[in-house]
């Protein structure tokens, strides 16, 4: 797996809303530590994603990379011939 750089302009409102919806499923006791930028609550992450600031962009990148890795696995499974 590889973390692909995602162009900010490529990301539609729909994707941003999808990321927010995913973050909203996280419990409120969770804190996310992102290097030396700090530790963030779920609420703060959602705000950052909405504002499209540096942290928000990183969270979008992480979630999109994960969803892409899932779709790759699905493609590989579909390509595998049945024995």
């Amino acid at each position: 797996m590889e973390n692909k750089v995602i162009d900010k302009d490529e990301i539609s409102e729909e994707i941003v809303n999808l990321v927010i919806a995913r973050l909203e499923t996280m419990p409120s006791n969770v804190s996310v530590s992102i290097g030396d930028t700090g530790s963030f609550t779920v609420e703060e992450l959602i705000k950052s994603v909405k504002n499209r600031d540096e942290i928000g962009e990183k969270i979008i990148e992480i979630q999109i990379s994960y969803l892409r890795s899932l779709s790759k696995i699905q493609e590989q499974e579909n390509d595998t011939p049945n024995n």
Binding site: M1, E2, N3, R22, T25, M26, P27, N29, V30, S31, V32, S33, I34, G35, D36, T37, S39, T41, K58, I62, Q63, S65, Y66, S69
Partner: protein, 210 residues
């Protein structure tokens, strides 16, 4: 055999790194290693580079904040960078658990003769349970992140090669990802972050750097 490890502790991320890295210290001691444990105020540039120079450790493990070019010790002091001390890593197996040090510092370590390097080319991310701050080793949200990354150090301490240690760690990631992907898992929201760290982990050796 000698292990040199840094464990700064001055805010939440380093508090977690400090405690989870203690598992590596304990394992090394259990196996009879001489452990040079530079914790808290001892995780400073002069002390670290002096030990690196004079004690000639077999394994060097750094925990802390970092960026492409450098790694920090206590209170954010730069203890190692591409233009300060990297040549002291010659002949050593190196694991840097810090953000992005795999981008330049890891490559430079190999160029300067390090035996191997494992690190990250993106920010190292982990989740915690705010209610578990005082018991970081019992924090079920942090556990997968630190168990997977700790595996690099544990395998190195078992005298495996840098490549084998990286492979063991990636296997641990796969195992945790499978567990969290189970439909009954309550913590599947950890998956994107765990996959992120796994994808960001790199392993360089003199062979791969050619």
């Amino acid at each position: 055999m000698i292990l040199l490890i840094t464990r700064p502790r001055y805010e939440t991320p380093t508090h977690y790194l400090f405690h989870w890295a203690e598992i590596l210290v304990m394992e090394a001691k259990k196996r009879g290693w001489n452990v040079l444990d530079l914790q808290k105020e001892k995780a400073k540039r002069n002390e670290f580079q002096s030990y690196l120079n004079k004690k000639s450790p077999d394994i060097v493990i750094l925990n802390g904040h970092g960026n492409a070019m450098s790694v920090m010790g206590q209170d954010g002091e730069i203890i190692l960078s591409t233009n300060d001390g990297v040549e002291l890593l010659e002949g050593k197996k190196v694991f840097i658990r810090a953000c992005s040090a795999g981008l330049s510092l890891g490559r430079e370590a190999i160029n300067k003769g390090a035996n191997g390097f494992v690190g990250y080319i993106q920010p190292f991310i982990f989740l915690t349970d705010k209610d578990s701050f005082n018991k970081p080793l019992e924090d079920v949200l942090a556990k997968p992140f630190f168990e997977c990354s700790n595996q690099v150090g544990l395998s190195l301490i078992k005298e495996k090669t840098v490549e084998e240690s990286n492979t063991d760690s990636l296997r641990k990631y796969e195992e945790k990802i499978r567990e969290l992907s189970h439909s009954e898992s309550k913590n599947s929201f950890l998956l994107p972050f765990l996959v992120w760290n796994m994808s960001s982990q790199v392993c360089y050796t003199p062979k791969t750097n050619q």
